[in-house]
């Protein structure tokens, strides 16, 4: 579903990603782990077509980046730690706006469906400004799945959420993953990642330094695998 070969990203003289190779099969849920400044967000922004790679090849759902960006974007749902929502619009209006931007046909039924899935049906006519952080984040996920994307990218979705909000977000994420989507999530919260992902990749110093599936991790736990990967 996602194939990345020898991806390099430079900001001026600073090289953030130095030849990342990365492959995701359809239906996989990959957690991308690593310390701050390892380039996780940069990597995800490149996959999301928001940032241009300096070198390397990227294929998502059969389309090349950056030259077939529009086709890729049509099959991509992105959730970042910012909600990407307008505070002066209601939840429903936000979704309606994005449905139009994506060119979704007959979207009215879909709006209700998404609001139900995220548990915001009762507050669909409230301004997003009045929402709690957790509700905003759930609506952000609703926004990202609106056009039924094949691939989802989550960039630190738990940032700034309390315990309750986090576990509600867990449920929504599990629903999204259960619908057969391919997911890549960055996180520094190992426990949450362990709960959701089927594969764990460690990104450090601009390279994927280790990778293990949840089956392979049966023997050892994620924390020691993570520490080992960073030390090696």
């Amino acid at each position: 579903m996602i194939t990345v070969k020898k991806l390099v990203k430079r900001f001026g003289l600073k090289t953030v990603l130095r030849g990342v190779d990365f492959e995701v099969q359809p239906g996989e849920f990959v957690a991308l782990l690593g310390p701050n400044g390892a380039g996780k967000t940069t990597f995800l922004r490149i996959l999301a077509s928001l940032s241009r790679p300096s070198l390397g090849q990227i294929r998502i759902a059969g389309y090349r980046l950056p030259d077939q960006a529009a086709q890729v974007r049509a099959r991509l749902g992105v959730v970042s730690h910012l909600p990407l929502l307008y505070g002066d619009l209601t939840a429903e209006e936000n979704l309606r706006f994005y449905a139009r931007m994506y060119g979704i046909p007959h979207y009215e039924a879909r709006l209700t469906e998404v609001l139900e899935m995220t548990g915001l049906e009762a507050r669909r006519h409230d301004l997003v400004r009045t929402y709690s952080r957790g509700m905003q984040q759930r609506l952000a996920i609703g926004r990202a799945v609106l056009h039924d994307p094949d691939v989802m990218l989550f960039d630190e979705p738990y940032t700034g959420l309390d315990q309750d909000a986090s576990s509600m977000l867990d449920d929504v994420l599990k629903t999204v993953a259960a619908q057969g989507r391919t997911v890549v999530m960055t996180s520094h919260d190992l426990a949450r990642a362990e709960d959701l992902a089927t594969r764990f990749d460690i990104l450090s110093r601009g390279l994927i330094s280790a990778s293990a599936s949840s089956a392979e991790l049966k023997q050892t736990n994620l924390l020691s695998f993570y520490k080992q990967a960073l030390a090696g």
Binding site: F11, G12, L13, K14
Partner: protein, 232 residues
């Protein structure tokens, strides 16, 4: 650190010699103008700096287009070098013009199309440097700089036309006569020699400064690179 190229050293020396000769031609060799007297002698350097500054601004707009197509930071360094040198040259043009205008038009400044356009052009490129200062990412800085230099290069000639519109309804602004007529003169053969020599000398000086500025930019990059290496 690479030593200074021999060709650049030669050009440095040539620039100094040409400036000396041009100064001699303008201040001693050329005959004193009958009506205005010695103050007319600023004219040679006035035109010399004006011509090279305009050349630099036009080059900068060309570098903008090349950068936006190629996305190679080399063209950004070319652009900064051209604009920086031109900005200083154009300031010299304005100051020399002002010195001449005092006895010729009996005022340091008038809102004539040429003068006003010159002042606004200086403001455009001052804004250009303020824009660049506010951006950390070198690629973004180069893109924004290129776009702004392009907009500036397009709007400056339109500004000239726009101010000409005003001159037709406010013909009294500069004493009722046309600036060309007021202070115009015809050149003798010796004056013409001094004039063309000044054009040539300032073109060489411009190229020399441009080259030196480019080299300075490369050295700055090297310093940044070494700093990064040390911090790794």
């Amino acid at each position: 650190m690479q030593p200074k190229p021999v060709a650049l050293k030669v050009l440095d020396l040539a620039s100094i010699i040409l400036l000396a000769i041009s100064t001699y031609l303008a201040l001693v060799f050329a005959p004193t103008e009958r009506v205005m007297g010695d103050v007319q002698r600023v004219f040679y350097f006035h035109i010399g700096t004006a011509w090279t500054a305009l050349l630099g601004f036009i080059l900068a707009a060309v570098f903008s287009v090349i950068y936006l197509i190629r996305k190679d930071l080399k063209w950004d360094r070319f652009q900064v070098a051209a604009i920086e040198v031109s900005l200083v040259f154009f300031l010299i043009t304005i100051v020399l013009g002002s010195i001449w205008a005092r006895p010729a038009w009996n005022t340091w400044w008038t809102w004539d199309p040429r003068l006003t356009t010159a002042a606004i052009t200086e403001l455009i490129y001052a804004a250009y440097f303020m824009l660049r200062q506010g951006i950390d990412d070198p690629d973004k800085r180069a893109s924004f700089g290129a776009i702004y230099a392009l907009l500036g290069g397009l709007s400056a000639p339109l500004t000239f036309f726009a101010i000409r519109l005003f001159r037709t309804i406010h013909p009294v602004v500069i004493g009722g006569t046309n600036p060309e007529a007021d202070g115009g003169f015809s050149m003798t053969a010796d004056m013409r020699l001094a004039f063309f020599f000044a054009l040539f000398a300032f073109t060489v000086i411009f190229i020399d400064l441009f080259w030196n500025r480019l080299r300075l930019g490369d050295l700055q990059d090297n310093v940044e690179q070494l700093k990064l290496k040390v911090s790794m």
